[in-house]
Assembly symmetry: C2
Homo-oligomer: 202 residues x 2
DNA sequence: CAAACTACTACACGATCGTATAGTCAAGAG
DNA sequence: CTCTTGACTATACGATCGTGTAGTAGTTTG
């Protein structure tokens, strides 16, 4: 995960193992014993370092969020997009994002706070667009949800395109597709009009 | 859920309760006892009707998928978009989609199959676009993942826009925002060029 | 040197899980 | 009438869960 070299303590290994298993199996389904086994320690040590499963989870939330923002900071280039947006496009953050979405789904305040920060940043960005949407807040919220949401279906997208999106070429195809979606209108003006008319009738 | 009137048997109530709790808490975290309690029956009856938790889950997958397609069929209007795309836009399918994504995340073959069908349909649709993306398959896959993925962050989107997206006005704002995202380019051509150049360098 | 602290393991606890079994009750068949 | 069948409940089982406790080894501190 591209982490600092002195971060290989047992505590760090437990946290990494927890993020992995929480992501793969869901938070409830990942047991402390399995996390300990993956980290190569006893289950008692997990409790020693983190106190409880809930506290372990919050430590993972905090770490994932901080790493996301930290990577975003490092990547900001010549006054371009917001740091959160840059971070979401970088492959290193893929496992972090996937974890954060899973944690969000299971009611993490920390992860939800990060989401709201992304929406705020996206809202400011949206106002700079040449054509401003009517409901800027909703636009930014849905956009953020779409960007994050893609990663929860990572296995399905990988299966659909025939290669793992975590691989270099797969990730390149993913980001290119996202850029295309954000630049090529998905609907023709006629289809849009038809759908809006239809949705007003029902 | 707008279901047929004669579908109020104990079996149906159990299935509905299972879909609700599986969605809210995750599949592993929702116990058979809680599902039985929500359906107003004993836990033994759940086993009697469905055999095992895994079988109950597969029945829910099957039901949710069929309802989605069925609603899509009913909604198809004058030779417009594919039925899956129409279905994803309709408020009735919101809980079904949310469930299916959660089930997908935990490795449901049935739900994944539906996703792949959506990608196939989206691929055909993409080819009719005035401007065709270079990687049609990846484009369709990411688009489908984005549409589905929004709903896993339903609570977060609701919090961001200040009202429940399941409410009529909240859902209207959500769909409008999705339409805007799909018609208004999120990036200016300069930003796109800058980002592509950057991603080639790294 | 002794005391204290930290990293760590082993093991036992109550609770809850999915599952299994036995039995009740009502309706229909012969 | 008896017999069968299906919907349904009550209860018990082994396994696994998060957590608690006791203890060891090594280092630090006074």
């Amino acid at each position: 995960m591209d982490r600092p070299a002195d971060d290989l303590t047992a505590r760090a290994r437990i946290r990494d193992a927890a993020i992995n298993l929480f992501t793969e199996r869901g938070i409830e389904a990942a047991s402390i014993r399995d996390i300990a086994a993956e980290a190569g320690v006893s289950s008692g040590l997990v409790r020693h370092h983190f106190g409880s499963k809930q506290a372990l989870r919050e430590a993972c939330d905090q770490y994932a969020k901080e790493r996301m923002l930290q990577i975003g900071e490092e990547l900001v280039f010549q006054g371009g997009a917001a740091r959160t947006d840059v971070a979401t496009m970088h492959p290193v953050t893929l496992p972090l994002q996937t974890y954060l979405v899973r944690s969000m789904m299971d009611g993490s305040d920390t992860a939800t706070a990060l989401f709201l920060e992304m929406v705020d940043a996206g809202e400011d960005f949206t106002k700079t667009l040449p054509r401003e949407p009517s409901d800027v807040r909703a636009y930014a919220a849905v956009l953020a949800a779409m960007k994050m949401g893609v990663f929860v279906l990572r296995d399905q997208v990988s299966e659909a395109i025939g290669e793992d999106i975590a691989s270099p070429t797969g990730y390149a195809r993913l980001t290119k597709a996202m850029l295309d979606i954000f630049t090529i209108p998905v609907m023709t003006p006629e289809q849009l009009e038809q759908l809006q008319k239809y949705s007003e009738e029902h």
